[in-house]
Symmetry: D2
Subunit: 416 residues, 4 copies
């Protein structure tokens, strides 16, 4: 059993793919100072320099260490940059990642180069077996995932600063027309869900096995919920009416005092939100983003609708066309105006708990810890966001976070 669902064909393009992915990480962190890359703003987030080192360690740990000629860069990195792989051995406590000042960003740059060179050598020698090639592909996808996490985490870190630091400069978005929401009917029945065995493109192990699910007929909204619509929910006392909320959600908003999406703030009657370009006015026709599962669920109830299951979502996406909303554009890093694509702009909370598909068995060894062990008390998000690297998005992708999480670029789409 493999962590991914197919054996990637050996090809010279894998070197290019590897270099592209590695290069994007460097691009994303090029304008972050050593100070910016060091802190951990909450337990769930990680320092930028940790992300840079961890994704590098992944290649070293799971691929290069199998090469008897490879000389490990620094044995202490195994301890410092392992994230959660119990099978690999002891590791630095997660809540203290922000205290590891050494190695510094320059050292981590050297580490990246060293591993890149070793990897390129290995790839160019053509000496990798299928399992190893599959792990290279996994490592590239792993790094893409961390590119999104890195941006989420930097946004969270910068948002704690009193004076709104800017990650990327960009112009102010102009407000436009809000398209009226329409409903797209989908016919149910026994439906195949997930990635088929032997698929020719990469997917994570949790996207399979492909299996049958019975769906009733349903309707799904043609676009995500917008900021303007969310303001209507707020204006209708959405955050103050217990009947709209799950019990856990109601308790959570009492405790936290949440009265608006994450990063929103009101001053002088106007709502602004913190973005990777600093604090900006809330743009009405953009999809709402940084809402928790609790809020998404309450909104749907208020709107007389519900969240789709992840199976409904996938069925809808497969008939929804190949167009994409905003994916990662390093000059923007923020959703575009709400459009009619299923994938892009914001991750969409579904009503589904994150559980294994029937017949799911994790891979052997440490990479088997990649996905399966998190299948408890998390909620599935589908689609992709404005900070998801292009090429990393697909209709079967299962993203997952706990219900209160909202530093994710998370929004919602209604079903009924």
């Amino acid at each position: 059993m493999s962590i991914i669902n197919r054996a990637t064909p050996v090809s010279s393009s894998l070197v290019g793919r590897f270099l592209d992915v590695r290069g994007l990480t460097d691009t994303l962190t090029a304008h972050l100072s050593a100070e910016d890359q060091t802190p951990q703003s909450m337990t769930e987030a990680s320092p930028a320099k940790w992300h840079r080192a961890h994704v590098t360690w992944f290649f070293e740990e799971f691929i290069l260490r199998n090469d008897p000629t490879y000389v490990v860069y620094d044995e202490t990195y195994r301890y410092l940059f392992n994230s959660y792989y119990e099978a690999v051995g002891p590791r630095h406590p997660r809540p203290e990642r922000g205290l590891v000042t050494r190695p510094g960003v320059a050292d981590i740059g050297h580490y990246r180069e060293y591993v890149d060179n070793a990897m390129i050598g290995l790839l160019e020698r053509g000496a990798l077996d299928d399992a190893s090639i599959a792990l290279v592909e996994l490592g590239c996808n792993h790094e893409q995932q961390h590119q999104e996490l890195l941006l989420m985490d930097i946004k969270h870190l910068f948002s704690t600063h009193a004076f709104d630091p800017v990650y990327v400069d960009r112009e102010i978005d102009e407000a436009g027309e809000i398209p009226p929401l329409t409903w797209r009917p989908i016919t149910g029945g026994v439906t195949e869900i997930g990635v088929p065995d032997g698929a020719s493109t990469f997917s994570y192990d949790n996207e399979g096995p492909r299996h049958r699910v019975y769906l009733e007929d349903f309707e799904i909204a043609d676009r995500a919920v917008t900021n303007a619509e969310w303001r209507a929910f707020m204006g209708d006392d959405g955050y103050r009416r217990p009947e709209l909320w799950l019990s856990d959600g109601w308790a959570h908003i009492q405790q936290t005092g949440w009265r608006a999406p994450g990063y929103w703030r009101e001053a002088d009657g106007e709502w602004t939100t913190f973005t990777l370009s600093g604090r900006r006015r809330v743009v009405p026709d953009e999809p709402v983003v940084h809402v928790s599962f609790y809020e998404a669920d309450a909104y749907a109830r208020w709107a007389g609708a519900r969240l789709p299951t992840e199976f409904e979502w996938e069925a809808a996406a497969l008939t929804g066309g190949s167009a994409r909303g905003q994916l990662l554009d390093t000059t923007r890093c923020h959703p575009g105006r709400a459009g009619t694509t299923m994938i892009g702009d914001v991750w969409e909370w579904t009503s589904s708990a994150y559980l294994p598909y029937p017949g799911f068995v994790p891979a052997n060894g440490a990479v088997g810890e990649y996905n399966g062990k998190f299948m408890c008390d998390q909620h599935v998000l589908r689609g992709a966001s404005a900070i998801t690297p292009p090429g990393h998005e697909r209709a079967t992708y299962r993203n997952f976070f706990p219900a209160p999480a909202r530093w994710v670029f998370s929004g919602l789409r209604l079903a009924r």
Copy 2:
């Protein structure tokens, strides 16, 4: 939409049903002192006298208050004995239920009598409409649920005492032969799950709507996992091998130090467990009980199997015969020897998250808060336990608790 799935037919037997249920609560608490009935041993538990008052308040709030001739017993009780119904108004904070010393147990006895008399009058006058009759039936089931909670909570309270108080005296169980586990094959396909509309017996709203689910073929164990089998898991370092555990579960057992089921203790190489009859030796051929979802899941992985989904469980139960294991026997309050019935002895964790069935809509008004608002980050248990009142168990029943809960009479059954 009703909180229950049918309109209970008006019948004189409803008075008898009501009196039976009410009487059992009195029986269960007759040998608890005022002191025993007062404390709250943890936030999730409630004092016995609170349970007695709360189930009474339920009838007063949802039925008697609709009768214009009814005189409320004490208006302060609405505040003191509302559990979680936001629509009913403010209520006493849950973590402080153990501080409400007034009314005392005698007052609560009078309150029970007062409400009983009013209810009997109402029932005998035959003046109730269908909706109200359905609420009486709901109130009876609600009280039965609380009978089980009351026993769980008393067991937890007594277990905190250094000298093992006894709730019910009984003889020592003799150890017997452990039957070898066998597998029962079940054929899959599109399967109907849940209670049909218009069913002639009571069920909760969360057991419907009846809907179709696609099941693959599977096998299910003919009995629950036993203490002897659990000892084998412990002996094989089951609690020390991270590869067997969900990430949340592993973190939880590190933090709590759990190395055995709830209430178990080792002394001089022998394992005992706290029961409602005091501390007893662990009996090998009884089903293991007081394990969390985390532990159940880890055990299943260790055993090379898995937990069934709640749908698989229900499909198996419908073909599993009508025999019952141990249900509530007030002279025992403890599981019997593991047998081959699906229902009884211990609740069985399933792999399913507690989510609404397709088309589920909670009832209007306060009783709509009964089930639906808890559908988040909880796990479904099926079957019934040795402290479930007979008549309250059924194949479609969906019990639910958070993953770490183990003061429940919870065990497990394997599938594959």
Copy 3:
């Protein structure tokens, strides 16, 4: 070295003294139900029935167990009712005293009788040596201390109830004239503080050794600060001006939101306070009570004065006459109108940290844990309160609590 500062002379009156003290405890709890006596409303408080048993255990542990003919009432009580004596062995965890439902109040009544009878027998046989007689006197004082704690704890417990239970019925106090505060000058110099060796009346070990302290000349207020004066402090934004507060105090009131003394509440522009006779209007000319050290210190700074040291307080008390303010009157349990006595009505926070007097050495054995081990981060209060049993008060008495404590009957007197 003895825990008390003198050997009490053997006298028949010791039996009378013993019976008086024991009887007062019974009087205080006679109108508390079993339910009232069971819960623990916060870690610092204890259940009434625990107090009743613990003071009894004290006599059993330290006196009766030395009598070879004595048969211990129940060996489990040593574990259940030891408060903090490490030398006596393991004990029930303090935060869980409210979960010990067994023994119940009736059992504890029997225990009290049993120990009383054994003690009387012992006392009447005249077989006690001086050390044991001193321990009887210590046990009586210990029980008096717990009488005050019991009333503090019941007040706290009842205050958590939404509907203001009444411990003792009494009439409404009429408001009167507030006497203008005047200052009494005291001449300093080398001053003897504490109880002399060989004093003929009881005192705790922490009241000695008598030693010399150098005092500057100072002035002390002729009465405690009143509610009316405290209202002026509140009205002058006393709780909102950081310059008045110790850093710890300011942090504490931000965190807790305190804006008035303990038990005070405002409704419709009127301030009430919870008393042992239920919720009452704040009476302007009574001394303010239930303020923390932080608040007392901030008030003094606001008033352009300061708290006296405990040495100044004692020097002033020794020249302040023998009249007493309100001490425990079981029909009142509340301070009287502020008068010009030093002792009575409310305990008075001093500026002194609770530290050993020079040359202080705790007694050998378990009773040596009575006082000395708490000499860290606590603050001395002097005087006595309206719930201190008469006869337990004296000018050298050193009461002590942590700075945030305010379930104590604590007020203040100014110095400059």
Copy 4:
């Protein structure tokens, strides 16, 4: 009333003094990377770059802002680098100092230069009045205090790293002979304590007013307690015998599991300690360091002695000669072999609570918050440590920390 006890005479040497102090801060941080200077390893500690900016802000806030020609460097720094001065306005939350990545270390370097230039200009113009000159002297002492804090905090930060980073390289200390402890008798009586009014050298406000204290005769040890002696305490089960401990201390070591001084670790039967030069063997004849007040107090009780009061300590220091133990030497940063000086090597816990001297009144304005508001539940340490900048130590100096603190360079000296 001034924050310091004298008006410093205007002199050209003040510029030199200022430059010396500022230069030492730069020296101490020169070999710390941007990454090292950014994190906050616990709430009580601060990032190195925060220390560098805060001490600079102190000069800007309290001196330069009074100069109408001065242009503030950056108005946001007032918010970011105010430590606890409520009178100055809102400020960044203390627990989040490690998240302020901007300004970075280079910016802070520029800020330091800018303020230095402005200060030098001001000092050279000779335009400062006496009060301002006193504030310059205060600012220099404030920066010296922060130099010690910066080293304490870097040591704590580095100690959290799994691989023992080195702040300063130095040779291994050789073990030597442990001098036998001897007792020095001191004659008591009315003794003057504190700094006289009009003293010609700097002191903090909390070191006065000079006042009379009555001391009994006592003896004080001629040196601090050594590591060898501490090992004897550990070997005699010092950490496992409740009778040796204050109640709070015993609770604290149960909760934390402390069984040795801070930074100590045992491996293969050998004890090492983390130092600013990495992990080193514990040297027997060095003074023990990084013990809490709880531990110091327990040790003294075990040794049949006690801690001196701060008044005894000061009286002893005034007759103890002017020699110094180890003060800050940037090539060492660690105590030397225990010698017979009173001042140097390690701060020495006294038995005194940190309280105002009689007649103490804080300065007006924000600098009045410097010392007085912390006089609650802290304990006085006297002397100086191996990381105290030379010239900052004196016999009347009152250092203070909470009882559990042990990232301080804190040891103890016995009295009896």
